[in-house]
Subunit: 355 residues, 2 copies
């Protein structure tokens, strides 16, 4: 049978879904199934001669073991589910996926990616798919930092780690950006550059539909205040504004903020898009960046920051690192019976030319 297949070329081979089995290899090499299995799994008690013979046959026949058969017996799926909602506000949030994927492949495991969609029924269905496949756990990632609701039923059945989001009562391990550190780092960079009047155009709570607290907004403000306090610079409420996501909003706010008495010499923007509107407004006022007014953004959307002139100093969200952390925790500590950690990752400053 083996000879037949070899002679007829790959056209036929491709039609045969299962190709060769361990038995084909065993027969061809003149050994038993058990021996081939031992070679495959690097078991010590196989003679070098036999091992070489088997490996040679494996290579020659392009044999690759059937994963389903193996995992049926060993109950090791070597798969992790990666679920996301579909809401993409920051396209760079996909770095979470990359971080998770790279870490998984270090462990020789793979990721099954699914979208949960919006309604919890579709989510339930997606999760069933993952359970059926006996994934070792699930990483649930949100596309922006927020609170989410995972069905309790699911959590009882399989380890779940949250990335860029957290659950209501902090019952699940989660990793999120340390927004406070981000706000602090941005503000401190401006303080260090000698600024003491620092405007802050923060993100609005009204981000599309109403979401209870917006951790990004609250955290960054906290960091802003903390940096000011440390530098003994008084907090001035007049310097704080909120924008919604309409394009002209931050433009208008910047004009407003600059036309007051004692205008700021620096502006910290809640995200890079906001900073872009800010740039336009400053330009229309014939103010130079950073000579007249320094600007710092948030998000580090590289397609935007680097395209601006001068390029935008901003704060980086640790998307890649969140993906890494979530997988590491899932694989190594999912069974720990401790309070689920709520891990926060620093948001470092990315220095460019706007400060």
């Amino acid at each position: 049978m083996i000879e037949l297949i070899l002679e007829t070329g790959y056209e036929l081979l491709r039609d045969m879904p299962q190709k060769y089995t361990i038995l084909d290899i065993a027969k061809t090499a003149g050994v038993s199934r058990g021996t081939v299995s031992r070679v495959l799994n690097n078991h010590p008690s196989v003679s070098d001669q036999t091992r070489q013979k088997v490996l040679e046959v494996i290579k020659r026949l392009d044999y690759s073991p059937n994963f389903s058969a193996r995992s049926l017996r060993t109950a090791a799926s070597n798969m992790v589910g990666f679920a996301t909602d579909e809401v993409i506000t920051t396209p760079f949030a996909v770095d979470i996926i990359r971080g998770a994927q790279d870490t998984l492949s270090q462990y020789g495991k793979v990721m099954i990616a699914i979208n949960t969609g919006y309604d919890s029924q579709a989510m339930q269905k997606s999760m069933e798919v993952l359970l059926e496949r006996r994934v070792e756990g699930i990483v649930y990632a949100a596309m922006f930092h927020r609170e989410i609701d995972i069905p309790a039923q699911l959590v009882e059945r399989i380890p779940v780690v949250l990335a860029n989001c957290f659950s209501k009562d902090q019952l699940l391990p989660s990793v999120v950006p340390d927004e406070v550190s981000g706000g602090y780092n941005a503000t401190k960079a401006l303080l260090d550059a000698g600024h003491t009047r620092i405007g802050f155009i923060n993100l609005s709570r009204a981000w599309g539909e109403p979401i209870a607290p917006l951790p990004a907004s609250d955290g960054r403000l906290k960091g802003y205040k903390k940096a000011l306090a440390e530098a003994d610079v008084p907090y001035d409420e007049d310097l704080l504004h909120y924008t919604d996501q309409r394009p002209t909003s931050s433009y208008d706010k910047t004009l407003e903020i600059m036309q007051k008495d004692d205008p700021p010499t620096a502006i910290f923007c809640g995200n890079d898009r906001t900073a872009m509107g800010c740039y336009n407004a400053l330009m229309s006022l014939s103010l130079r960046i950073p000579d007249d007014v320094a600007v710092v953004g948030f998000d580090n959307q590289s397609n935007l920051c680097e395209a601006l002139y001068p390029s935008l100093t901003t704060v980086q969200l640790p998307h890649y690192e969140m993906g890494q952390w979530a997988v590491e925790y899932l694989l190594n500590h999912a069974d720990d019976s401790v309070d689920p950690p709520q891990h926060k990752l620093n948001c470092p400053l990315v220095t460019r030319d706007s400060v």
Copy 2:
């Protein structure tokens, strides 16, 4: 492959609490395994009474069938591999993933996502992982439109469809953006608005490392010329410029192009980033958009286009649709013994306020 196998340790035993089996369900419901299997697979010849009884037990015990066991017998993995290189120039290219994923879930299948990395050895290894898992096929997606090289050895063993890229001799089915249509649509929009002097700041061939032909650049130029020809507007080589990806490059080129005799009244930019530099240059010349000079971009990077003022009219790359097409073709036509199609998808205009 052999290296890969050797690396998998022997003691990969992980005790996963293997919930219930089909036999548990059968016993609890007082029926046989076969009957439970029939219920699970919606087989008609099961009495309503029995079916209800079994379903009730399944629900009560939170039973979910073991996928490995099923696919061992049926040889249907219901999985498709999705491989990408890591080079992300346009973050929105992830829409390819979404398109593929959504289509797969319509078929009740899932995606295994992997990064191939840069070197072909790492790629080979990734592919082995997919083969071992008996995926039905592989979608290989590039993050920008280009030619790629898939190992012949792989292609012989499993169906492969390319998205946003193509193979040297067009031996593999592929789906790519119709760059010509994009260039045409952009230029035509400007012609329709009454412009006859249309500058074109095209993408440079020198995109980081040297890549043979840059389909985006060549195609868009072709579309530009085609639209001009159709409108009987002579092609003027003075209006064509190339930028590299340095931030200030398109700024400088715009100044250069506008300071010539008989400057253009409209500029078509090779991508949205280029358009952004163009905006800045026009603003510094005190020219209003679109009143003095109209601008069209390319890519439709929404975080950028909508943040610009006025918002940028641009051309959309059909990322989502490429993902859809690739999966559809893979599932329905992979075995067709015809010349592998090289499918091109239209790049539609997205109208905003800059024309």
